[in-house]
Structures are given as C-alpha cells and as structure tokens.
C-alpha cells in the first residue's frame, strides 16, 4: 500500500473473509437494506402487539367475563392469539441487526463451501483513492466512483466499505494498511469527504 489519508493505492487478493465481511457490512449497514428490514420488523412487532393484546383481553374475559358471553371459547382464543403473538415476535427478532449478521455469515459460509463464490475469491483487486474519486479494478471489471456516488462509509472490525449503490461497494481490508492508525485515518478522511459531499448535494 502507498499513501495516507484519502490519497492511497493498494492491491489485494480477495479472501473468503473479505467476501463474507463485505456482504455482512452491506446487509447490516446499507441504508436501503436497513430501511427495508426496519419496515418488516415494525410490521411483525405490530402483529405481535395486537395478538398479545387480543390474548390478554381474551384471558381476562375468560376469567372474569359476564356469563352471557361465556359461550365464546375465550381460553382457546386467548391461547391462539398468544401463540401468534410469540410467532410474530420471533420473526421480528429474526430481523434484528444481530440476527441478520449471523444469518448472512451462515449463508455466505454455505455459498463459499459450495464453491459459489469462486469467481470472486482469489481475484486481485487494485484500488486507488484520491480527493476526486475512488477506483477499483480486477481483470474483468472496473468501477470509478466520484465521491458524490458514495452514499456511506461502513466500518467493521477488519474491513471498511465505501457504499456506491444499495448493494455494492469498494472494500478496504485492514490488513493492506501499514498500521491501525493509517486505517483509522483513512476512515476518518473518507467519512469527512462523504459528509461534505452529502452536505453540498
């Protein structure tokens, strides 16, 4: 790797970890994906709440309701509503960022083990960043993004990712940087650059 701050260039060979961490960063950090997940989570939470309330009201009526409406199977109604409430709550839990991250790792591990990611793994990627744009290229593909095309800087434990569309981005593994300080310096500079572009847009 050469350079510092925003002016850097390097190349690296894509490893299975890079593929997995890149996908995890997008699934848990891409604004479009996060908005989609939150919306689904809200729907399931509402269903869980409504079913829980139906269950509780059914239970109260079953125990203390007036005899005139006791012909209704309130206990059964209460039980079924509570089961659906738990079901909806479980689904909403399955959409939490942590659950999504775990699910993504399992999915990617399966795909890598089955050889479905062989086209990406082992590829050599050349990355070049400067004040005006971010460029990356492999033998078959290349992409040049101006900073205006970068919508977010996503950071994981060992990777950073500049998001250039809802589901793609440029990956920066920590290992290619000379030190943790250089990695942190690049992330800070990139965030500042994206914030500045967003503010002027």
């Amino acid at each position: 790797m050469t350079g510092s701050g925003l002016f850097i260039s390097f190349d690296y060979t894509v490893t299975p970890e890079d593929v997995t961490e890149g996908a995890v960063l997008i699934a848990t950090g891409s604004p479009t994906w996060v908005a989609t997940r939150r919306r689904s989570q809200r729907v399931f939470r509402r269903i869980a709440l409504v079913m829980f309330l139906v269950g509780v009201v059914g239970g109260v009526i079953a125990f203390a309701g007036p005899p005139a409406i006791n012909g209704v199977p309130w206990f059964r109604l209460c039980g079924i509503a509570l089961i659906f409430s738990v079901l909806a709550w479980l689904f909403s839990r399955g959409l939490s960022p942590g659950a999504q991250e775990r699910a993504q790792r399992v999915l990617l591990k399966g795909a890598i083990d089955r050889g479905e990611m062989d086209a990406l793994i082992g590829d050599v990627v050349f990355v070049e960043v400067n004040e005006a744009e971010v460029t990356w290229s492999t033998s078959l593909r290349s992409c040049r993004d101006s900073w205006e095309a970068i919508s977010a800087v996503l950071v994981g434990p060992d990777h950073a990712l500049l998001l250039d569309s809802p589901a793609t981005g440029v990956l920066f593994p920590r290992r290619v940087f000379a030190s943790d300080a250089t990695f942190a310096g690049f992330i800070a500079a990139a965030r500042e650059r994206v914030d500045r572009t967003g503010a002027s847009a």
Partner: protein, 201 residues
C-alpha cells in the same frame, strides 16, 4: 446493433421508474439475490416447522395429561404448520419480493437514501465488454462477468455478478427491433465469453 462487429454507443435519460423496473428484474434474475432470498425462505419455513413441532408436542402432553380442551388447539395448530409454512413461502415469493423491493427503492430514492440517481447515462459496448457511466460513476464489465441480459417489453438490462445493472429503456432506441437485436448480440457475446472461460478453466 451488434457490439461484436462494431462498438455501440447510446445516450440514456433515466427516470425513477426505470430504476424500479430494473430492481424488479435484478431480484428476479441476479444469482446473488436468488440465492439470498431462497436461503431466507428456507430459514423462515424451517422456523415455522420448528414452532409447529413444539406446539404439537405441547398439545400431545396436554392430551396425555387429560386436558383435551387445551390439547386440541395445540394438536390442530401443529398439524396446520405445514400449511402455514407453505403460506409463508408463498408470501415471500420471488415475484412478491421483487415488487416490494421496487416499491421500497422508489421510496428510498424519494427520501434520497439511495445513491441511484436519475439523469443522463451513457452506455458503450464493444466486443470485449460494456461501459456504463453518468459522469459520477463509471462501471466497466467484461462479457465474462455478465450474468444475465434481460429483455422486458420496456427495458434491456445488463446484470453483472455484483448485481450492478446497466439500464437501457427501449424508448432510447431508434426502433424496438434495435433493442431486440442488441439483446441477442450481447447474449451471444456473453455465451462466447463463458465458453472461453470454461475452456480456460
């Protein structure tokens, strides 16, 4: 229009509707999305089966304990689980996900949460690959990394392995037959590139 014989260049004006149409096709055709959603469907169906099994077991316990009033709903719910799992799989069918994704993208573009911007794009294709640019973002893909060329009544879409997409509305062609001819020519180039990479492997 055959990029294999002579480079093709197109000026394209894209609107929000074009991106939404493209999103539907990405979800329906991109191997990455097919793989992710198929895995999520399997996971959801598995969860429902598991919950159904637990409820069925509880119902069975209640029956053995001599409480048929409690046992019957549990047994019924457990037996109905396969139906529920099928319903859930149906609810998250690829078509439905594609339509939802397009609707969400439309909202994301409205809220400026998505980096996909309408406006002028250029498309260039030659014997080796295609280039797609709006000045801020330039993507070059060799035919070997193109996973699908999709022709709908209104669009021609070039999808690559990273789920990046080049969107060519039919209205941008001089005649609809030109769009058809370009689709076939690009399809042939992709086949040749695949055959070459298979031979090299």
């Amino acid at each position: 229009m055959n990029p294999g014989e002579q480079p093709v260049g197109l000026e394209v004006e894209l609107f929000r509707e074009d991106f939404c149409a493209a999103t539907e096709q990405i979800v329906l055709n991109s191997p990455m999305f097919l793989f992710i959603y198929a895995a999520q469907r399997r996971q959801a169906a598995r969860q429902v089966w598991l919950i159904g099994l637990c409820v069925f077991a509880l119902g069975l316990l209640a029956l053995l304990a001599g409480a048929p009033g409690l046992a019957l709903p549990g047994l019924a719910f457990g037996l109905a689980t396969p139906l529920l799992a099928m319903l859930i799989v149906q609810l998250i069918s690829q078509d439905r996900i594609a339509r939802t994704s397009a609707r969400l993208l439309e909202r994301a573009i409205e809220a400026r949460q998505s980096s996909w911007r309408s406006g002028a794009w250029t498309f260039e294709a030659d014997a080796k690959g295609a280039t797609w640019s709006n000045g801020k973002r330039t993507v070059r893909a060799a035919w070997g990394v193109v996973v699908a060329i999709v022709k709908t009544p209104t669009h021609v879409l070039v999808l690559d392995a990273d789920a990046a997409v080049m969107i060519l509305p039919v209205r941008c062609f001089d005649a609809p037959e030109d769009a058809e001819a370009l689709t076939h020519a690009m399809g042939a180039l992709v086949e040749v590139a695949r055959a070459e990479s298979a031979a090299a492997a």
